[in-house]
């Protein structure tokens, strides 16, 4: 099946700093999503981005499908950005909306 790798596994930032999270995947995809799991465990859908670039406030994401990677940018980080960021993909041969999740990037934003 498709493999999804995320980097870095852990990241500590000072409030106000910017960061880039990376997601590499092993095969062509027709679906890529970024999720944030907050410290209370809630999973929030950030972006649906199988290709191209999207922005939502301080967050933006870019997926280069031909090179099989996606980037999540966090600007002017805040303590509420802390949590785990997951990339999830569905391969072209996948069916039934089967998302394969990466192992996540654990982000901690400190004052």
């Amino acid at each position: 099946g498709i493999q999804v790798e995320q980097s870095p596994p852990d990241l500590i930032l000072q409030e106000g700093a910017n960061s880039t999270l990376r997601c590499n995947f092993s095969d062509s995809v027709n679906n890529l999503q970024w999720f944030h799991q907050n410290p209370w465990g809630q999973l929030i859908n950030l972006f649906y981005i199988p290709s191209g670039t999207k922005q939502n406030g301080r967050l933006s994401a870019t997926t280069v499908a031909t090179e099989r990677y996606s980037l999540l940018y966090i600007s002017s980080s805040q303590t509420t950005d802390s949590g785990v960021y997951f990339c999830a993909v569905e391969g072209l041969t996948g069916g039934g909306n089967k998302l394969t999740f990466g192992t996540g990037t654990q982000l901690k934003v400190e004052l």
């Binding site: 465990g41 809630q42 859908n45 039934g96 909306n97 089967k98």
Partner: protein
């Protein structure tokens, strides 16, 4: 509130017991899922239903049986619980359009602890 709601939020039970987790969505979605998140936070799909029909059934022990009475509900029944079943179970839903999921939304999770 429009949401995916799961009950119970916490479940502590002894080995060998049978338990159920319920999930309901009022988003008008037609596809529902069960995911398992282990202690290392790894998320893996278990089942997926589209309009009450099972479309994904990953390699999950037969002790796990999903049931979808209608497209707004997807319940998970677990028989003969084992220590290794301890995890957080997430329900999710989406709208299946043109072969792709839209509006992927997760419930708040059920933390199952088997003692």
């Amino acid at each position: 509130d429009t949401a995916v709601s799961q009950t119970p939020k916490y479940l502590v039970t002894q080995m060998g017991n049978d338990k159920s987790i319920k999930c309901e969505q009022n988003l008008g979605h037609d596809t529902m899922y069960w995911y398992k998140q282990d202690s290392k936070k790894f998320l893996k799909i278990m089942f997926s239903y589209n309009n009450k029909e099972l479309i994904i059934n990953e390699t999950v022990p037969n002790r796990f049986s999903p049931k979808s009475p209608d497209k707004a509900h997807l319940n998970l029944h677990i028989n003969s619980l084992e220590l290794g079943d301890s995890a957080v179970y997430f329900c999710a839903s989406s709208l299946f359009l043109g072969g792709l999921p839209y509006g992927y939304t997760f419930g708040s999770g059920t933390r199952l602890t088997v003692v």
